[in-house]
Symmetry: C2
Subunit: 132 residues, 2 copies
């Protein structure tokens, strides 16, 4: 058995009030990750991380995710140039979601469609409207 | 069979570029939801929605989620007073995550711990520090 990269909180109190980073990975070994622009606050993307992706993000200061479609570690921008420099990492109350404040490098796009943010459409009267 | 509340996109092009709201609920019938403060941009919470929660959110302008722990529709604030008035709803490229910009009512807390945001802790040198 390999040693886990992160500890497990033994009580809800430690999980919610403690100073120990004890992320709760789901049944697939993943934790949700929200990336916002460190300056504008815009939500850029929503993705997933496994333990290695979170460890690499914290160690390198560049966002790493886990690609569910490719089933592999995904160093964001390694091929596209759209590196995300991590300004701050936060975790939520029950430690099943992390929030990264990032500075996008390259052309500033976070989305595979080329958009600055994956959330380029607003829901209005039941329809989607592009509004970047 | 009941009629689905939302259509399914038949192609990736329609999913990513179309004007049809065709949310992709996961195997548990859920879609990820990020709520940010409409004014400050702060990420307040991360939760899940089923089809009814999303429909109710769009129809009423108040955030509804699906509580996985209680396995039921969760009208945020119905008991706590922490209603979230929805200013804008966005959806991401592959329509598996929605972003709500909200105005929190009541005491302004989004978190069950009483904090304004569930993300009240920063990861610093491997430890968590409270910074609201």
């Amino acid at each position: 058995m390999t040693r886990p990269l992160f500890p497990t909180a033994s009580t809800t109190d430690i999980l919610e009030k403690g100073d120990v980073l004890a992320p709760r990975f789901d049944a697939n070994g993943l934790i949700a990750a929200i990336a916002t622009h460190a300056e504008t606050g815009e939500v850029l993307m929503f993705a997933w991380m496994n333990d290695v992706a979170l460890e690499r993000t914290l160690a390198t200061g560049e966002a790493h995710y886990f690609s569910r479609s490719r089933n592999e570690l995904w160093h964001k921008g390694a091929t596209s140039g759209q590196i995300q420099l991590v300004e701050e990492v936060r975790i939520d109350c029950d430690q099943d979601c992390v929030w990264l404040k990032v500075f996008p490098e390259g052309d500033g796009g976070a989305c595979h469609t080329g958009a600055r943010s994956c959330f380029y459409r607003v829901v209005e009267n039941g329809k989607l409207k592009v509004r970047e």
